[in-house]
């Protein structure tokens, strides 16, 4: 099943991009997600909500895309996809909740949630039940 990626910009401080993933995130399309996050950052977004309510599957390669999204929103270069897991190892060291970039996951579904749980990476990603919660947690009320 192909994956559809929709990007919507939400005005405010900071400007937020809500990127909705519809379908299945796998080795064939994870780099497309990275490209979309890069475009959103270049368009001025400094907060990112990944809306995952309709993401029904995520392969391990999707985790590399999630980490790349965090790096891009920090203004850093995304890791070389060839570096694979080296990138995620680096992320764990970087992880500091006080300095966390404004990236949120919203609407995680059980199959995708299990991938994060089983790889021990769930704690590295700030997850909110809904898109509205995620936006509010970045921009405040």
């Amino acid at each position: 099943m192909p994956m559809t990626i929709d990007t919507e910009h939400v005005a405010g401080s900071p400007q937020i991009a809500v990127i909705s993933l519809i379908g299945e995130l796998d080795a064939s399309n994870f780099e497309l997600l990275v490209a979309n996050v890069r475009q959103a950052y270049d368009d001025g977004a400094r907060g990112l909500v990944l809306e995952l309510t309709e993401l029904t599957f995520m392969a391990s390669s999707g985790l590399v895309a999630l980490y790349s999204a965090v790096r891009i929103m920090r203004g850093e270069a995304p890791p070389d996809p060839e570096a694979g897991w080296g990138a995620l190892h680096e992320m764990a060291e970087d992880h500091d909740p006080d300095a966390a970039p404004a990236v949120r996951l919203a609407g995680l579904q059980p199959p995708v949630d299990r991938v994060l749980e089983r790889t021990g990476l769930k704690r590295l990603f700030d997850s909110r039940p809904t898109r509205a919660d995620a936006i509010e947690s970045i921009q405040g009320t």
């Binding site: 099943m1 192909p2 299945e24 796998d26 080795a27 064939s28 599957f57 392969a59 391990s60 390669s61 985790l63 694979g84 897991w85 080296g86 995620l88 190892h89 680096e90 992320m91 764990a92 060291e93 059980p110 199959p111 299990r114 991938v115 089983r118 790889t119 021990g120 990476l121 590295l124």
Partner: protein, 148 residues
């Protein structure tokens, strides 16, 4: 191409990551038909995706080839067998990452293989006499959904 027999369903696809959606749909429909609970279906789909992606990336290494998948229910188990014609590659020999230690300190690699194992009750590999690999991924049908 999907061939349905009385007990075994077969799918043959080019070894390309763009075809993994087709493979997942094949596993999903086979596992649904076999009576696996939804969470178990998701686990098996994950395991097969990670295994097949590994075959493409580490086995064929980007060269052209094919993957043949057989799915069948037997003795209360759902089995998906992946056959390829690439160099011998045994994912079950990849060391399991130790998730109790921080990700940074883990050895690189192995997450896809970890998800393959986590979603299955058993994984068997053998090198075929005519060359290539045969990987069998098993999920017990009465296993409790979501149970690790």
């Amino acid at each position: 191409m999907v061939v349905s027999g009385a007990a075994t369903r077969t799918l043959r696809i080019p070894a390309e990551v763009a075809r993994m959606g087709e493979l997942r749909a094949f596993v999903r429909s086979s596992a649904d038909a076999a009576g696996l609970a939804p969470a178990a279906v998701a686990d098996l789909v994950q395991a097969v995706d990670e295994a097949a992606t590994n075959i493409i990336v580490h086995g064929y290494e980007g060269t052209a080839g094919e993957i043949l998948a057989h799915a069948r229910r037997r003795n209360g188990r759902m089995e998906v067998r992946l056959i390829d014609w690439c160099r011998p590659f045994d994912p079950t020999a990849v060391p399991e990452p130790d998730l109790s230690i921080p990700p940074l300190e883990r050895k690189p690699g192995g997450m896809g293989v970890h998800l393959m194992r986590a979603g299955a009750d058993a994984v068997h590999h053998r090198v075929r006499p005519d060359g290539g690999n045969e990987l069998t991924i098993v999920r017990v049908i009465d296993r409790q959904p979501g149970e690790d």
